[in-house]
C-alpha cells in the first residue's frame, strides 16, 4: 500500500505517536504500508511553512520509503523561492496547500497553480486536519469548501489536484444530484456519479460511511481515489482496514491502495 498523506514531525494540539521519519516508517511498515508521501507536520501552524520543509524534507528525500512533499503558503511573498527550492533540492512531485490554517482563499493560489501545472507538479489541498467539532478553542479553523478545490481543478485542467480530508457527503452537495445521495445505500450502483473534473483526485482518510470504499465508488471514479492514513494524527490501522476489509473488488482495492498514487506521482507502486 502507498500512503498518500502522512505528516512527519510534531503536532501542536495533542500527543501523537513519534513521527520522526524512522518512527513513522516503522509504524507504517507494521501496517503493511510500503511507501508514503510525507509532508512536514509543523507546517500546519508555523508562520512560514517552508521552515518546516527545510526541517523535514532533507531526511524524507533521502529515504527510500518516503516521497517528500512540500507545504507552501502562496500568500507569502517568498513562495516562488520556496517552491523552487523544494523542486530543486528535494524533487517534490506534490505541493500541499492548507488554506484553512494559513488563512486564505484558494484564489490566492492561482499563480502557484499555474506554475505547478507548467512544471507537472501536483497540488494537494487539505480541507481539514481534525474534526472541527473538537478543535482547540484557541484554534478553531473551519473546513475549506470542497467546491473551491473543484473550481481550482476546473480552472487548471492540466494541473493534477488532490483533495485531502473530504469527510462528509454534504460537502459534495453542489456536485451530486439529490437522488444520487438518496441511493447511496442501495445495493445497486447508481448510473451517474459526482460531476467532477477529471484532474481531481480524492484522498480517503476522512471519508467514512457504511462500507466507505463502496460508497466512494458510487460517487467517484475508481482511478481517482487514493488511500491515505493521515498518520500520525489517525491510527494508521483504521484506514488500512477501510480498504482491506471493503467489499470492493480486489482490482479496485489495488488501484486505490497503490496504483493510482503511482500514476499520479510517477513513483514505482
Amino acid at each position: 500500500m502507498f500512503d498518500m498523506t502522512v505528516g512527519c514531525g510534531t503536532w501542536a494540539m495533542r500527543p501523537t505517536p513519534p513521527a520522526d521519519p524512522a518512527s513513522l516508517e516503522a509504524m507504517l511498515r507494521e501496517e503493511g504500508v510500503t511507501g508514503a508521501c510525507a509532508y512536514p507536520l509543523e507546517a500546519w501552524f508555523w508562520p512560514d511553512p517552508h521552515e518546516a520543509n527545510e526541517l523535514r524534507l532533507p531526511e524524507l528525500a533521502a529515504s527510500d520509503f518516503f516521497v517528500p512533499s512540500a507545504v507552501i503558503n502562496p500568500t507569502l511573498a517568498g513562495w516562488p523561492k520556496a517552491y523552487d527550492l523544494c523542486r530543486q533540492q528535494w524533487q517534490v512531485p506534490l505541493v500541499r496547500l492548507m488554506p484553512g490554517y494559513h488563512a486564505y482563499d484558494l484564489d490566492a493560489a492561482s499563480d502557484l497553480a499555474e506554475r505547478a501545472a507548467e512544471d507537472g507538479v501536483a497540488v494537494g489541498v487539505h480541507l481539514r486536519a481534525e474534526d472541527e467539532r473538537m478543535h482547540n478553542p484557541v484554534a478553531m479553523v473551519p473546513g475549506v469548501p470542497f467546491a473551491d478545490v473543484a473550481a481550482m481543478a476546473q480552472r487548471y485542467p492540466e494541473l493534477q489536484v488532490i483533495v485531502f480530508g473530504l469527510s462528509r457527503l454534504r460537502e459534495l452537495s453542489d456536485f451530486v444530484p439529490d437522488d444520487l445521495m438518496a441511493r447511496l445505500n442501495s445495493p445497486e450502483r447508481p448510473s451517474e456519479m459526482a460531476a467532477l473534473p477529471e484532474n481531481l483526485w480524492i484522498e480517503l482518510s476522512f471519508f467514512e460511511y457504511e462500507s466507505s470504499l463502496v460508497t466512494a465508488l458510487k460517487l467517484f471514479r475508481a482511478d481517482r481515489l487514493l488511500f491515505g492514513t493521515h498518520a500520525p494524527l489517525f491510527y494508521p490501522r483504521s484506514n488500512v482496514l477501510k480498504i482491506a476489509n471493503s467489499e470492493a473488488d480486489d482490482d479496485v482495492k489495488a488501484a486505490v491502495s497503490a496504483a493510482n498514487a503511482s500514476t499520479l506521482l510517477g513513483v514505482a507502486p
Binding site: 495533542r14 500527543p15 501523537t16 505517536p17 501496517e31 481534525e130 474534526d131 472541527e132 467539532r133 473538537m134 478543535h135 478553542p137 478553531m140 445505500n185 442501495s186 445495493p187 476522512f206 467514512e208 460511511y209 457504511e210 462500507s211 466507505s212 498518520a231 500520525p232 494524527l233 489517525f234 491510527y235 494508521p236 490501522r237 483504521s238 484506514n239 488500512v240 482496514l241 477501510k242 482491506a244 476489509n245 471493503s246 467489499e247
Partner: protein, 250 residues
C-alpha cells in the same frame, strides 16, 4: 480477533416494513471486520408512546430473527410518563432486550432521566448515553462528560456507557474517572491516535468498550482504532469483547 459492537444504529421504525433490509449483507459487513455481534439501537425522540413501542418492537423483531447476531437496546423517552417508562422497560427486557439507549432528547442532568436510570438498575441492564464535547454543531440538550458524571453520581447503582470516546475526549474521560459505574465506548468521529490508550490508562481496560456508530461510520476503521492502539492482547480482548459481554449479560 472477534468483537462485539456495542454502538450500532438501525434505521427501521416499523417491524413490518424495513426497506432495504438485508441481514446477510449486514452480517457480512460486520464479519469482515471480526464483529460477530452488535447491539442494535433505535431512537425515539419526540415520539408518542405508541410510536416508541413500534420502534422498540422493530428492534425486538431483528433480535428474534437473528439472535446469533443482534442484541437489542430499547429507547425510552424521558418525556413520557414515568409509569409508561417503567412498563415499557419491563416489557422490552422481558422480551430479551439487554440495554437502554439515550440520545439528545434530554440532557443527562435533567430529572426526567431519573425514571430511566431507575428502570435500568431494576432490570440490571446498562444505559448507553450519547455524549460529546463540541465547539461547534452542539445540539440543544446534548450531554457532555460532566453531564454524564452528574447522572452517574445521582444513580451510583446504575451502569452507564458514555458514548463517543473521541467526542468527549480527555476531559470526558477525566469527568468519569472516579465513577466506577461508567464505561466509555470507543467511537465518536475519526480515529485520533493515543485516545484509546489514554482511556485505558485512566479508566482501566475493563471500562473501555468497542463501538462503531455504524452506519454513520464504518466498522473497519472504527475497529481499526482498537486494533491499532498500543494495548496488551488481554486489554484489547477486554475492549473488543469481554467488557461488552459482561455489560450486556451475554
Amino acid at each position: 480477533m472477534t468483537a462485539i459492537d456495542i454502538h450500532v444504529h438501525h434505521p427501521w421504525t416499523d417491524p413490518n416494513d424495513r426497506p432495504g433490509y438485508r441481514l446477510e449483507r449486514l452480517k457480512s459487513l460486520a464479519g469482515q471486520s471480526g464483529i460477530e455481534r452488535i447491539l442494535a439501537l433505535t431512537g425515539g425522540k419526540g415520539t408518542s408512546t405508541e410510536e416508541l413501542q413500534r420502534r422498540n418492537d422493530c428492534t425486538l423483531r431483528l433480535v428474534e430473527e437473528a439472535p446469533d447476531f443482534y442484541s437489542g437496546a430499547m429507547y425510552l423517552s424521558p418525556n413520557h410518563p414515568p409509569e409508561f417508562i417503567r412498563e415499557e422497560a419491563r416489557r422490552c427486557a422481558a422480551a430479551g432486550m439487554v440495554a437502554i439507549k439515550q440520545g439528545i432528547e434530554v440532557n443527562a442532568r435533567d430529572a426526567r432521566i431519573d425514571p430511566i436510570a431507575e428502570a435500568a438498575v431494576e432490570l440490571g441492564i446498562p444505559v448507553l448515553f450519547h455524549a460529546w464535547y463540541k465547539m461547534v454543531e452542539k445540539y440543544p440538550e446534548e450531554s457532555d462528560g460532566s453531564d454524564i458524571a452528574h447522572l452517574a453520581r445521582r444513580h451510583p447503582d446504575t451502569r452507564f456507557i458514555m458514548a463517543h470516546l473521541t467526542g468527549v475526549g480527555r476531559r470526558g474521560v477525566q469527568d468519569v474517572e472516579d465513577l466506577p459505574n461508567v464505561s466509555v465506548d470507543t467511537c465518536g468521529g475519526w480515529y485520533d491516535t493515543e485516545m484509546v490508550e489514554y482511556a485505558v490508562r485512566h479508566l482501566g481496560a475493563e471500562r473501555v468498550v468497542y463501538g462503531s456508530d455504524y452506519p454513520g461510520r464504518d466498522y473497519a476503521p472504527q475497529v481499526g482504532r482498537v486494533m491499532g492502539a498500543r494495548l496488551s492482547t488481554e486489554d484489547r480482548e477486554r475492549v473488543l469483547w469481554h467488557n461488552a459481554a459482561a455489560l450486556l449479560g451475554l
